[in-house]
């Protein structure tokens, strides 16, 4: 079964942990859709969020191997959807003449922000679930996308508890 999986990995900030984690996936032919690494609230700890798709059994193997890596503190599999998933995108879109108003209407509907303006373009910041980002991109694409930078999805568990429980 080819499913999309979102996995969070809490790791110690050691040199090279990122490439070790990434190569665990690539060595098994698992393509990474997106990958995010950034510090957490705990000193010396980073969180890696990986969105990937592929066979469930192979993913289980990868998760087991991740757990064996010495720098890995915890692996959280959000594939069951028990989380809030969000992504941010910065979008530079052509906006001349009549298109300017249309871009601003789309911005308004998606509650996006304009973060840079030129006489020929707008640069937008938009957040939401990855499918919402896809939605605004679909509307803006015919107007002329000049540049797109996405963060890839990050996920946080629902409820009051943190990852430590």
């Amino acid at each position: 079964m080819q499913n999309t999986h979102t996995i969070s990995v809490l790791v110690e900030n050691e040199f090279g942990v990122l490439s070790r984690v990434a190569s665990l996936f690539s060595a098994r032919g698992f393509n990474i859709d997106s990958l995010d690494v950034a510090p957490t609230n705990e000193e010396g700890m980073s969180r890696i969020t990986i969105v990937t798709h592929g066979d469930e059994n192979v993913l289980e193997q990868i998760t087991k191997q991740l757990n064996k890596l010495i720098d890995v503190i915890k692996v959280i599999d959000f594939s069951d959807g028990s989380c809030v998933e969000r992504e941010m995108a910065l979008i530079k879109v052509s906006a001349e003449d009549r298109d300017r108003a249309e871009v601003l209407r789309i911005v308004d509907i998606f509650r996006a922000k304009v973060i840079d303006v030129t006489p020929k373009s707008y640069t937008l910041e938009v957040t939401g679930s990855p499918s919402k980002i896809d939605g605004i991109l679909e509307l803006l694409r015919p107007l002329g996308l000049k540049e797109l930078v996405r963060t890839g999805a990050v996920a946080i568990g629902r409820g009051a508890k943190g990852w430590k429980g």
């Binding site: 990122l18 490439s19 950034a38 809030v84 969000r86 941010m88 629902r158 409820g159």
Partner: protein, 163 residues
């Protein structure tokens, strides 16, 4: 010195770990690292925030340019880009502190994306310093969990990276 670098790469297996290991093998610590698809089919964009010696970074940039999967390297260290980050923040919120959390969220134009009787989960965006500022205010109230995306950067002006 802090450096922000964007790398446009072809979606090949293993390119992420190759780029990451170029940094780690030289003892360059990566503050944050993002790889995600772009508008062009088959093309991904990696944004790296790192700290370290300028001349070593120049070496790394040269080596990045030699990797076969790499289409373009953009160095935003001169501040010519717009930098943004998103954070999902789960903060304890009981009794009186509930109103205070909402006030802080309001001031930072943050959104509440999950609620329980004892906590709020907040989505905040802005430059990394703004994220640091809201975290500093929320920390005394009790941070339960924090997920940051790391910074992404886009050039100013009307032109895209392809020029």
């Amino acid at each position: 010195m802090r450096h922000t670098i964007s790398v446009l790469v072809e979606n090949e297996f293993g390119v992420v770990s190759r780029v990451a290991s170029l940094f780690s093998s030289r003892g360059f610590n990566i503050d944050s690292f993002i790889g995600a698809p772009t508008n062009e089919e088959g093309l991904s964009r990696i944004t790296i925030v790192t700290r370290g010696d300028e001349s070593i970074l120049e070496q790394i940039t040269k080596q990045l340019n030699k990797l076969i999967d790499i289409i373009k390297v953009i160095d935003f260290s001169d501040g010519s880009g717009i930098e943004r980050e998103m954070a999902l923040i789960k903060v304890a919120a009981e009794d009186e502190s509930r109103a205070e959390v909402l006030r802080i969220a309001d001031i930072f134009h943050a959104k509440i994306i999950d609620v329980t009787p004892r906590s709020y989960t907040i989505e905040a965006t802005g430059n990394p310093a703004k994220i640091d500022a809201i975290l500093e205010l929320l920390r005394p109230l009790g941070l339960r969990e924090l997920v940051r995306t790391g910074a992404i950067t886009i050039g100013r002006g009307a032109k895209g990276w392809a020029g």
